[in-house]
């Protein structure tokens, strides 16, 4: 029985990720349009809500081109790996508290492993392989340059991201995402905000910047920098293989929004949750709240994309190595001093 619930949960989360990725493409275009005083896609269905379906249909029907000089096997492995690593990241995110239906207790988390954050980190660092392999297999200099940029950017920002997480771990004392979410119960406890963003503001800022870089989103979208690299690592891709790369980017955005919401913004916790006495109701509202937080982060990703111009490559590296990493280390030291001397 347990297994069936888990499988159902996996399928549901997978479908939700795909749905959100689909509608993120629509939301991206709408947000871009609104920020630029336009109306955006509005022809396919009312307000254009069928636009993702039309785009998906187009992607599937397009001619599939594999360049003659490309390494066929790796050329196909690239996007597959990209979308696979994007999808498996959601396994450790706690979507909500336990749901009780009759005698069954359903845990709204696929796997509550005690190294949840490390798992996310591992998956995120695997994500760069999809881009790297795809760029290399294309046998195209622009693709390769895009892939190299993606790889070096991800490696540089992973360090800062990891260091910013260490400070958070010193506060929470656990790597399990479920426990971290539980610690942020409610909104206000013991005379201070419960959410980690208020305990680790600098850590959150660093993590946010690194998340932008890890998901290859503007202003760090150098791997697919159109002005210099044609399309970056997916220059040679067409049809649904290109679709997978774009999809992977949006799923990554969704997952990193979920991780940020869980780590820093209380996950499924919401203010005054103790005033509701039905446990199931709290769980359901919690899931909705978590998704509201995730959508807020996705909106923020898009808002930033349509505001800030792209970094130059050396500026990107300067920011990563000379600013974010020292700041993250300083944050660790400050947190250490705080946990040792003030919190006792």
């Amino acid at each position: 029985m347990e297994l069936i619930f888990k499988l159902a949960l996996v399928v549901v989360i997978f479908l939700i990720s795909l749905l959100i990725a689909m509608y993120s493409t629509y939301a991206e275009r709408k947000v871009a349009a609104f920020l630029q005083d336009r109306v955006g896609p509005n022809r396919a269905g009312p307000w254009g809500i069928l636009q993702p379906l039309a785009d998906g249909g187009k992607m599937f029907l397009k001619e599939e081109i594999i360049p003659t000089n490309a390494n066929t096997f790796l050329f196909i492995v690239g996007p597959s790996l990209a979308i696979m690593t994007a999808c498996i990241g959601s396994a450790v995110i706690p979507w909500g508290q336990k749901l009780t239906i009759g005698s069954y207790v359903i845990d709204l988390q696929v796997a509550d492993i005690n190294v949840g954050i490390l798992y996310i980190f591992g998956v995120v660092s695997l994500g760069v392989y999809g881009i790297m392999i795809g760029g290399w297999a294309s046998n195209n200099k622009y693709s390769l340059l895009g892939a190299i940029r993606a790889a070096s950017q991800n490696i540089s920002y992973e360090i800062a991201m990891g260091l910013s997480i260490i400070a958070l771990l010193m506060v929470t004392g656990t790597l399990s995402l479920r426990q971290i979410a539980e610690q942020q119960h409610g909104f206000w406890q013991n005379g201070y905000f419960a959410w980690n963003a208020f305990k680790q503001p600098l850590g959150f800022l660093l993590f946010l910047v690194c998340a932008f870089a890890e998901t290859n989103r503007s202003p760090f979208d150098l791997p697919e920098c159109e002005t210099e690299l044609v399309g970056g690592y997916h220059t040679e891709y067409s049809s649904m293989k290109l679709g997978f790369y774009l999809f992977a980017e949006y799923i990554n955005m969704f997952i990193s929004s979920a991780v940020m919401a869980t780590l820093f913004f209380g996950g499924y916790n919401f203010p005054f949750m103790d005033m509701i006495h039905s446990a199931n109701l709290v769980t359901i509202i919690g899931v909705v709240v978590l998704f509201v937080k995730i959508f807020a982060f996705i909106f923020f990703f898009m808002w930033v994309r349509w505001t800030i111009p792209r970094f130059r490559y050396d500026q990107l590296m300067d920011l990563g190595w000379k600013v974010l990493i020292p700041l993250a280390i300083a944050n660790i030291i400050l947190t250490g001093l705080w946990t040792t001397f003030i919190r006792g």
């Binding site: 947000v31 609104f34 920020l35 005083d37 336009r38 509005n42 505001t307 800030i308």
Partner: protein
């Protein structure tokens, strides 16, 4: 060197201050500006449903005019075709037969009158050249179509609707 004008301005490149180097204030400023636009009304005009008013002297699709009695004014003199810089106009003249006086004003008329809308540059020189005030570019935008041949507009599309007495 003597400056050519007194408009020259020496730009001083100051090193960035700490706040400027921190990027964040500028980024938040930018986010504030974009979010203000988020709530503004879009300036889009959804074209086929909604049309912007044309100006007085807008030159659109041609129409071949009729006179006050509903007779075609065109006399197939060919001046419009001659004046056309894009060579978009062709016509074949014919003689008016007895009994056709209510259709054509002059003894000669255009049996075939074709304008290739793909060639036409809507300069309005045909309008200026016409001695009979028979052609005016007072119509709408020429609609899109699928085939090149469908852009050659004959008299069926160009001549004004007959007067209804």
């Amino acid at each position: 060197m003597e400056p050519l004008s007194n408009k020259r301005k020496v730009i001083e490149q100051k090193p960035l201050s700490f706040l400027e180097r921190a990027y964040l204030p500028a980024i938040f400023q930018g986010l504030g500006i974009t979010i203000k636009h988020f709530f503004k009304k879009p300036v889009t005009i959804s074209y086929p449903e909604e049309k912007r008013e044309f100006s007085e002297n807008f030159r659109g699709m041609h129409s071949l005019k009729r006179d006050e009695n509903g007779k075609e004014r065109c006399t197939a003199c060919g001046l419009c075709a001659l004046s056309c810089p894009a060579e978009a106009i062709t016509m074949t003249a014919a003689e008016r037969q007895p009994g056709e006086e209510h259709l054509y004003r002059e003894e000669k008329y255009a049996a075939v009158y074709e304008i290739n809308m793909l060639r036409c540059i809507f300069c309005g020189l045909c309008e200026e050249a016409c001695p009979k005030e028979a052609i005016y570019l007072d119509g709408d935008i020429v609609p899109a179509d699928y085939l090149r041949k469908d852009f050659i507009y004959g008299k069926d599309k160009l001549v004004e609707a007959p007067l209804n007495q």
